[in-house]
Symmetry: C2
Subunit: 342 residues, 2 copies
DNA sequence: CTGCTTACTGTAATCGATTGCATAGCTCGC
DNA sequence: GCGAGCTATGCAATCGATTACAGTAAGCAG
């Protein structure tokens, strides 16, 4: 209907006040008298005024948006985290930008550009596998305080971060399998070099030691968080002379691939081998057998990350709240684990 | 390292030219002589200049970003489409904003605001279930040409759209089941009112008729694209006196839930009943049994949508390319379908 | 009644890049 | 040798909101 979008000037003219007053009415109503406030409100109504973000962003030196960086958009693990982030951001008038690392590289675009360009006020990175030069560029920018890692992180850097209790979750898993009666427990790991892989692997070994269990080197099967890694791991398991009777997988996707491949080879879970995962993705519940897993509250993780980022954007020097948050995980017992056959 | 980000002015000063020349060098090099061009390039280098998007956006009246609207961020079906969109956008210097419809409503934010606010130059909507007033607001804006539907669409509106061959895919599926030898074929539908649900349902019925097959009303089981809908449908199937021996599900998620629940009840797929889905999501291949499905090229769908949107942003009056694109689908045969038992 | 505070409101500079118009120097044709 | 036609560059207005600073009127104490 409105052919041309109207500006603050238009509203000011209609209301018979200055643009300053209109601006104040909109962003700082306390400074404006009751009567002008209603007059301006009417003018805003009649003109159909909508604020121009570009102008505001320029003047306030804020982009009013945050960038979320994923290793891979096509991974369902991240979607709920995004939902959590988005929920918090949009409540504060912020927009959520998304970029995936592989793509950023391909197009020659650099992450740091989002900050330098004033395209984003901060970023939440869900990928601990950034290359060294990218990390260095982020560390050396004056805006480093507005960079935050979620889920994953990078050892030896000072970035703020949110993560789940990977170690405790892992030890809980091992202890649970032990409590079921299993004594020979294996582990399919994440990709080598990945921080989550290390955290979970190390905690796994520690707990096995603490429980005084046997651990053959071949029972630790290298993987990479994917369905396919699970399939490959199943092949390894099938070829073993002395097989672990329970397997803790570093991710649900691994566990599902592992079970699928075993099933295709006539091995029954949990009768022949107990399998559990980590993450508790949506599919875990629906798989056959339903997957026992360590639950991560991804929604909360996303919200926490967004909240922390906003605090750091608002006061980079002295942000309210934590520098690092660690969220609780919980054991979810389903049908893929059982007592060993007598 | 650089304490303060430098501006065009700084570069101009260092290079000994005017800001106009620097701007032209950057955005329209042909207008500038070889020698100044290199001089400016050096100055850009030494000052570490990064363009300020907010300023550019204000002046050019472009946000240089596009909004993608999803019904639900947590649905893995969309991730690959996003990847496709993002790939095309970032190649052209555009950023990708994400919002989910449920959330936009909750926060009182309106989709149209993204356009009116100059936060986005256009939007790709993956949700055909927008409420009437939202649709009306989008139709009545002068920017309606920059709104595009992908995957889903809304009947009776003039928005551009990209979609897959839902009808042909469905008819292919039915014919395939028929060719296997099945004569009693059922269908689990999407949510009532959804355009995809209608397209697939109608095509299903048409093809059944064309093949002269029996179709009992109860063989059409209402669902809603989700895993749970599949589970519920399985319960219905189990309760039937005269069961269809093959079931075409309106989505892979339905099909997986359906199979899972059947399996839990001792029914074997495909021996006891053939099941197939639509979409060919990642999990389809890894499920046990691997799911026969109709493949949608979601990456291409995303890229096509982005391409069409860019064309419409560049020239809203007379966009190059199609107003509606329909992408081919293909049958992927796996293990969840088989000839009926003799 | 005077001077000071308080509560609003207006003026105008500002954020940083883009671009229409003006200008200067050069080439070229006749 | 003169004007037309380029090419390369600069000047300055502009996009639309925010905000420091200034000004005005009313309220109030003394």
């Amino acid at each position: 209907m409105v052919a041309k979008t109207s500006t603050l000037q238009d509203v000011a003219r209609v209301a018979g006040v200055s643009t300053a007053t209109v601006s104040r009415t909109l962003s700082n109503p306390d400074l404006v008298s009751e009567s002008t406030r209603t007059r301006v409100a009417k003018a805003v109504q009649s003109t159909g005024y909508r604020i121009n973000r570009a102008a505001r962003n320029l003047r306030t030196r804020r982009a009013h948006s945050a960038l979320v960086v994923l290793p891979d958009l096509a991974n369902p693990f991240f979607s709920e985290i995004l939902e959590g982030i988005s929920r918090h951001l949009s409540g504060r008038g912020y927009s959520m930008l998304i970029a995936s690392t592989n793509q950023v590289h391909e197009s020659g675009e650099r992450l740091i550009d989002y900050l330098d360009n004033a395209r984003a006020d901060g970023m939440i990175i869900l990928d601990g596998g950034l290359s060294d030069d990218v990390v260095a560029s982020l560390e050396n920018t004056p805006q480093a305080g507005r960079v935050l890692f979620a889920c994953e992180w990078i050892e030896g850097t000072g970035f703020a971060s949110v993560r789940s209790e990977n170690r405790r979750g892992t030890r809980t898993a091992v202890r649970y399998l032990h409590d079921l009666g299993h004594r020979k427990i294996g582990h399919v790991t994440g990709p080598s070099g990945n921080v989550l892989m290390h955290a979970r692997h190390d905690a796994f070994v520690e707990e096995i030691r603490a429980l005084n269990l046997e651990l053959k080197p071949e029972w630790i099967i290298p993987g990479d968080f994917s369905l396919n890694a699970g399939c490959r791991a199943a092949t390894s398991w099938l070829e073993m002379d002395d097989r672990p009777e329970a397997v803790f997988c570093a991710s649900d996707q691994i566990a599902l691939g592992f079970i699928a491949e075993l099933t295709r080879n006539g091995v029954t879970v949990p009768d022949d081998v107990s399998v559990m995962g980590f993450d508790d993705i949506d599919f875990a519940e629906q798989f056959v057998p339903a997957l026992t897993s360590i639950h991560q509250d991804r929604l909360l993780l996303g919200e926490t990350a967004a909240k922390m980022l906003m605090a750091r954007i608002d006061s980079p020097e002295d942000p309210a709240g934590d520098h690092a948050a660690v969220l609780p995980v919980s054991l979810v017992v389903r049908d893929s684990t059982a007592r060993p056959k007598p």
